[in-house]
């Protein structure tokens, strides 16, 4: 729901620059982050709003950052692709595809050297698995047996190029090359993601080393808010995936199994809706940062 606001705010010219909607991939962030415990950390990527929401970053801070306002989680210096909220456990999001993976390895190294029983989850897309950073980082994490879970959100396209044309073998299989488990999860099913993530996270926390988890999912929108997403794929393909919508599927399951009523789900939806409306109004009202912020954080 937050991303629908983002798309709308971008159209209104209130979100400058770039923004990469997470719509369609919700089960991945929700499933993985539900399996994390207190003190566990996340390294996110350019398509990271969903990770922030799943980790409990206040929508006000997310939307303010996207609009370049002073109340943003990075004071408006980062933008859509850079999220840091240490309280929520979001260490950093990088806008360089694959760039967060070595960084997460360093975060995991700190956890290991501190003898903590926490772990770090690093989210990235299918495109990132073809960068050198991915391979260098997986190898290093495996050699040092670090508490990190590499979560690949395979949404089938690196901007416009399909995985079938860019990626040899399956992504999960790549774990084998580094002697670590490569697990596969149905990224349109939040419970499946949760179960697989829990296995990987438990392994990391027990000191058994990293795991690569491939979640097969789909982004409904284009690569960024500026992209229709239909130059390189058909509406039919998008529609077919939308029939597998992870939120609707989970709601169906909840009602069928009588774990929640339609009314309860509607109540949650309207609660989120009003919280978002409040957050949008808040972010719109906030001022832009003063110019003296420009040079304030170049040096620590």
């Amino acid at each position: 729901m937050l991303e629908e606001e983002v798309v709308e705010l971008f159209k209104q010219g209130l979100i400058p620059g770039l923004a990469h909607p997470y719509i369609g991939q919700e089960a991945v962030a929700a499933g993985v982050c539900a399996a994390l415990g207190e003190g566990d950390l996340v390294v996110s990527n350019h398509r990271g709003h969903g990770h922030s929401v799943a980790k409990g970053v206040p929508e006000r801070a997310i939307l303010s950052e996207l609009m370049g306002k002073d109340a943003g989680m990075c004071l408006g210096l980062g933008g859509s692709m850079h999220s840091t909220d240490l309280q929520a456990g979001i260490i950093f999001s990088t806008a360089i595809v694959g760039g967060g993976i070595p960084l997460a390895v360093g975060v995991a190294l700190a956890l290991q050297m501190d003898k903590k029983t926490n772990c770090v989850v690093c989210f990235f897309g299918d495109g990132a698995t073809n960068t050198g950073a991915f391979h260098e980082a997986l190898n290093l994490a495996a050699v040092w047996k670090l508490p990190v879970v590499f979560v690949c959100e395979n949404n089938h396209y690196a901007v416009s190029v399909p995985v079938s044309k860019s990626t040899s073998a399956s992504i999960a299989q790549r774990g084998q090359a580094y002697g670590i488990p490569g697990l596969f999860a149905n990224g349109m099913n939040v419970l499946d993601v949760y179960a697989v993530a829990l296995e990987a996270i438990s392994r990391a926390k027990k000191g058994e080393g990293p795991t690569l988890v491939e979640c097969e999912t789909y982004r409904y929108k284009g690569h960024g808010v500026y992209d229709s997403g239909l130059d390189y794929r058909t509406q039919q393909e998008v529609d077919d995936w939308m029939k597998r919508d992870p939120i609707q599927a989970f709601e169906r399951k909840l009602t069928e199994e009588k774990l929640a009523t339609v009314e309860e789900l509607d109540a949650i939806r309207s609660k989120v809706k009003s919280r978002l409306a409040e957050a949008v109004a808040f972010a719109k009202d906030r001022p832009y940062p003063p110019n003296d912020l420009l040079a304030k954080f170049v040096w620590a």
Binding site: C74, L77, F92, I96, P102, V105, G106, M113, E136
Partner: protein, 323 residues
């Protein structure tokens, strides 16, 4: 004062800082038992163990990425990249991530990573093992750059780098590792952004970087015998760059010469000359930039000799400006 080598001074700085602060540790290729390709970390594994002197795979991008990640969590890693040329292997982490962590997060993260590397020009190591390009990082806000030319500077600057809160690129020079010099006893740091006047003089200012500082001092000796006195300034850190000390000197001498082992175009000298021209143009009678030509480093020893600047290049440049 004790007299030790440039390599020993760096090793001492590392060991002393690791004893002082448990958060300081070393990672890099061959840094453990082998002691690094230039033996700078030799013996540290025995004292500090494999957890704090970490051999890594040959993965420069992962080394700097991991160093950044561990630093934002409160550690103070000192990462070794064997040759400066290999910094291009980790450019994504070194340019796109590390120097911007503090900025992009609105000050929420700091990444006190020290990257030790060295350049090998003059050792016949060819086009991919000789490059010295510190000005590239002068153009990358968020990372400090140190280029020590003496054992004392190397030790004091490295300690300051490790204790600071910012990323530092610490560029050593292989040709200097065996050079000896006096180093103060006990603990000391040399603050960044403070140039050192290695030799005072009145007729020309020579701003020399790294290996060229020694060459400039040799040139100063040669010129002194002809009655010409040059002031040799070693900026010691290029980011921050102590422009004030250079300006004061140029206002006195009216002649500016820059000397470095980089290629000439957009090198350190280009920036120094630009700053002096902006702020002291009326004082200037002449400027010379001494650097390598805009050509990759050759292998064959006579070609390398022709390629490298040195004492004689400086002497010639000073005489040209004096005439």
């Amino acid at each position: 004062m004790t007299t030790i080598s440039y390599a020993q001074a760096i090793r001492d700085a590392l060991a002393e800082e690791m004893r002082r602060d448990k958060k300081v540790f070393i990672l890099g290729e061959d840094v453990g038992k082998f002691g690094g390709a230039f033996k700078v970390t030799k013996g540290l594994l025995d004292e500090f163990g494999p957890e704090r002197v970490r051999d890594t795979p040959l993965s420069e991008n992962a080394i700097i990425g991991a160093a950044t990640g561990v630093a934002v969590m409160g550690y103070r890693p000192v990462a070794e990249i064997m040759y400066m040329d290999f910094l291009h292997e980790c450019s994504d982490q070194l340019v796109n991530h590390l120097p911007k962590m503090h900025f992009m997060t609105g000050g929420k993260l700091t990444a006190p990573v020290v990257i030790r590397t060295q350049y090998s020009l003059g050792r016949n190591t060819g086009a991919q093992h000789s490059q010295f390009f510190p000005s590239f990082y002068m153009n990358t806000p968020g990372i400090m750059v140190a280029t020590p030319s003496t054992p004392a500077d190397a030790k004091g600057l490295l300690k300051a780098a490790i204790r600071g809160s910012n990323p530092v690129l610490f560029v050593e020079c292989a040709a200097l590792y065996g050079r000896h010099g006096e180093v103060p006893e006990g603990d000391y740091v040399i603050p960044f952004g403070k140039a050192d006047i290695k030799r005072p003089g009145n007729d020309a200012t020579v701003v020399a970087v790294s290996r060229m500082v020694g060459e400039a001092l040799l040139a100063a000796d040669a010129l002194a015998s002809e009655g010409i006195s040059i002031e040799v300034i070693d900026p010691r850190t290029l980011v921050p760059l102590d422009t004030d000390t250079i300006l004061s000197s140029v206002k006195k001498t009216a002649r500016l010469i820059t000397a470095e082992d980089s290629c000439s175009t957009c090198g350190v000298g280009a920036e120094v000359v630009a700053r002096v021209t902006e702020r002291a143009m009326d004082y200037l009678e002449g400027v010379e930039r001494i650097a390598c030509p805009d050509i990759p480093a050759p292998f064959s020893p006579p070609l390398q000799k022709a390629y490298m600047p040195g004492k004689d290049t400086i002497v010639t440049a000073v005489k040209k400006l004096m005439s």
